[in-house]
Symmetry: C2
Subunit: 153 residues, 2 copies
Amino acid sequence: MSGEDNLLKLVEVEEADDHDYRLQEQVGFILRKAHQRHVSIFAAHIADLTPPQFAALAKLRDVGETSQNQLGTLIAMDAATVKGVIDRLKARGLVELSKHEVDKRRLLVNLTAEGRDAIDRLIPLAREITRETLAPLSAKEIAIFMKLLAKLA
Amino acid sequence: MSGEDNLLKLVEVEEADDHDYRLQEQVGFILRKAHQRHVSIFAAHIADLTPPQFAALAKLRDVGETSQNQLGTLIAMDAATVKGVIDRLKARGLVELSKHEVDKRRLLVNLTAEGRDAIDRLIPLAREITRETLAPLSAKEIAIFMKLLAKLA
DNA sequence: GGAAATTCATTCGTATGCAAATGATATCAA
DNA sequence: TTGATATCATTTGCATACGAATGAATTTCC
């Protein structure tokens, strides 16, 4: 092989490499699509609440009264986002807000009776949403997938 | 065991079931967190473009000129969303728009020279983003995970 | 005690993401 | 041919999502 051939080969390899990037095989792209699909399944089962709103109610049910900020940490939402979510839940009477007696910076959030009823009623639907989201996988695959997904998140 | 005991047992089981819903173990919740993490890694490597904007450029590089709608299908974005993405890319001179000669409904999108330079320059960074996103997994785990994730998306 | 650093919440700006409604054009079918 | 359908794009409205800036309150630490 001549030196020229070698050079040509290198150039070709680099170009092949360049064109070798396949968007639809990248983890970020597929992750985004999987998330989209889940949100769509969620909406089909629970039309009047978004996944973040549901997450806020479900977590409040677990931990009881907490500060808005702490709740955000628990459900992986930044302060600006959680405020919007809580504002909308409050407007619908599902949560109530109060000031922390000691630490005046904190805004306490809690379920109302209506909010508790709502989340209790929705949890069976949420189980079904999880089931349907994972439906393309076998039981064994689900176990593996969830373990690996948890490592990534 | 008396009939009363049986009834009590049933009630207890149902309540335990009720409290058994763990948000942080649900696939939707973890999927959302994994996606968040990926976006964060993306932003750390490519500050001046969002993942959807990058996806649009990368796909245009693959397929060449297409209609806005068709591009949306290819990158899993609805018509309203893709319009915003393309508008912003156009404002930055990375894509150009033209009317389809025959079908007057269609708006054709293509990379500009600058857009092509940009995406060519960014692809190596995108490879690194994928690598870093998958870093918590071993090579074998990555292969399994990607296969299962693709099934879900 | 008091300055510096931290924490909590809010606001603003920008960017997805999608449902629904609308208008223009194209295709299909009777 | 024309009337019904379907497709493409746009617009509006609402809901995340997050960086950055701001202000109030608290904690830390010298």
